[in-house]
Symmetry: C2
Subunit: 333 residues, 2 copies
């Protein structure tokens, strides 16, 4: 049962059936009544996708994320779907992995489906080389591109970002003020968000006139065990550190395990600060002080901005949301 059957039975064109479905006023009352009667007779339910033919919208948003099983992104997907649906939009989910080529392929795929907009969830979509982002700029000529905690300058591109730099600056500064001198920084990604966090750490050190060598900054896989092993190896090499700041709770959870294994007391001998305030922050013992990066607010704002774009409002191309430092047991602040 489809629109062809209705058109044939009602003896009108498919375009007319489509106009009736879309509430287009350009159909006579008589024809409209005939088409509706046939639809009822045939038990035809309009296929909303078919509206993509007649309307400019299929009421569907493409949502891309690198990995929906990541704790942060899983929450993003949840909030985005919830808020899009409450506005009457479906989400087509696309988990792309981390390779640029695959991201581009899926992005093109979503564009070819004529989605009404694409939301890129997480900061992994913006590349450092401008030419690697040109496919996004091109797509933005046709549909709005929304970035959740990523930033790219361009027409019809809208970013909602967490102020990661200020959050990490504040966390590092509080540790310094409470007497810490040797702050280690662990990060997993060189994304927009990742670079901002690191800059916050560096600025806090500079403003406190603390000078620490590159041996105090380490990249680490977003994995509890990898973080623990890295810290144990730094400890064995004799590196002296009294605080660990991290770009993700999983790295901080690894730091807790390191401290237990190395026999260091938390927070007396070692302070630890996580990021994202995930379920991991209450799972470790002691519980993690962590930066709440406000993923729900980021997603809600992204969807609200998108609805503003659709309704032709004057919406900001960039919105920044402040993070919160949630103090628990791995610091004494």
């Amino acid at each position: 049962m489809n629109i062809y059957d209705v058109s044939k039975k009602a003896n009108v064109s498919i375009a007319t059936v489509s106009r009736v479905l879309n509430g287009n006023p350009n159909v006579s009352d008589k024809t409209r009544a005939k088409v509706l009667a046939v639809m009822e007779q045939l038990g035809y339910t309009p296929n909303v996708f078919a509206r993509g033919l007649g309307l400019n919208t299929i009421q569907t948003i493409g949502v891309m994320c690198s990995d929906s099983s990541d704790l942060y992104l899983a929450n993003a997907i949840y909030y985005l779907e919830r808020d899009l649906r409450s506005n009457g939009y479906d989400s087509i989910l696309c988990c792309t992995g981390y390779e640029l080529e695959t991201k581009q392929k899926y992005f093109d795929l979503l564009c070819s489906k004529r989605v009404d907009a694409i939301i890129l969830a997480g900061s992994k979509f913006i590349e450092l080389k401008p030419k690697d982002n040109s496919y996004i700029l091109d797509a933005a000529k046709k549909i709005p591109i929304m970035l959740v905690n990523g930033y790219l300058e361009g027409s019809n591109i809208y970013s909602t970002v967490c102020d990661d730099q200020a959050a990490m600056y504040e966390a590092a500064s509080q540790l310094i003020k409470s007497g810490h001198q040797k702050l280690l920084y662990l990060y997993s990604s060189t994304s927009y968000s990742g670079m901002n966090k690191m800059q916050g750490y560096k600025n806090a050190l500079a403003d406190a006139s603390l000078s620490l060598g590159p041996e105090y900054i380490h990249q680490c896989r977003k994995d509890i065990m990898a973080s623990k092993e890295l810290l144990l190896s730094l400890h064995e090499k004799g590196l002296d550190f009294d605080g660990v700041l991290t770009s993700d709770d999983s790295l901080a959870a690894g730091a807790v395990k390191y401290a237990h294994e190395a026999g260091r007391k938390i927070p007396e001998d070692l302070s630890i600060i996580g990021y994202n305030n995930s379920i991991l922050s209450t799972c470790t013992d002691p519980e993690l002080t962590s930066i709440d990066s406000k993923i729900e607010a980021l997603c809600t704002t992204t969807v609200n901005t998108l609805m503003g774009v659709f309704s032709g409002g004057n919406v900001p191309s960039r919105t920044t949301i402040a993070a919160d430092l949630i103090k628990r047991e791995t610091t004494n602040l």
Copy 2:
């Protein structure tokens, strides 16, 4: 730019354009060439959703879950999307929450969009009262309904389940064989999966001729702190227990926190077993022994079964996958 523009410019009907798009042989070579030339001239990209009009498939699967931010379901969403996409299908995601009425509403919404099938991820969709499942049975008359770790008997309904009962039976039996007599059972849900897990626990006790009262079985919110508080209150009431079996790692993580606070040594004084082998199981200290419920295998099998249904193969209506007991530091097995 849409199919109407192409039809107008090529001076053919929309039906003809649609036939060309769908590779329908019922179009002359001359007409096909004309339509393709116009599409190229106009820069028209076919909207795959529009194929829903002409084909019986829109190559889109509705995926429903109660909450995609739940650790288990976040993984399910990830694996389902990945495996559907590798078969050329999109996923429309629907996070329904836990209310029956909302679940039904979203289910009907997906059906109205003429998705090719609906996958219900997680065991929260099947209700205990048969009449509450009738909407699923009705929908199955039109499209395949796939259940990931849920079970409902009916035509065109396919279940892939983890053998939760056998897994919990084995875990409890191993604890009993290693000398435990007072095994507490914590669960959060009375779903199909939840009831099977509990039955496994009960059967293990019965087969070992252990008789424990109802005070050894407790329902608890799927939350680390709720579990910790519940166990502390049972401890204060003087309940004697030497092992805790749980339906989810979060409850087991709470049990670890309880043991630390109550000064009980793990696993010497208290053994703890989690479920789902999630990231929490390596986050606690000591790390959780946990049952790997094989979510990736469940999802891959679900998608393979669905592809078998689409290709008209003779596929089983129910597939059972065995779980694994992953032994870590909260037991001495």
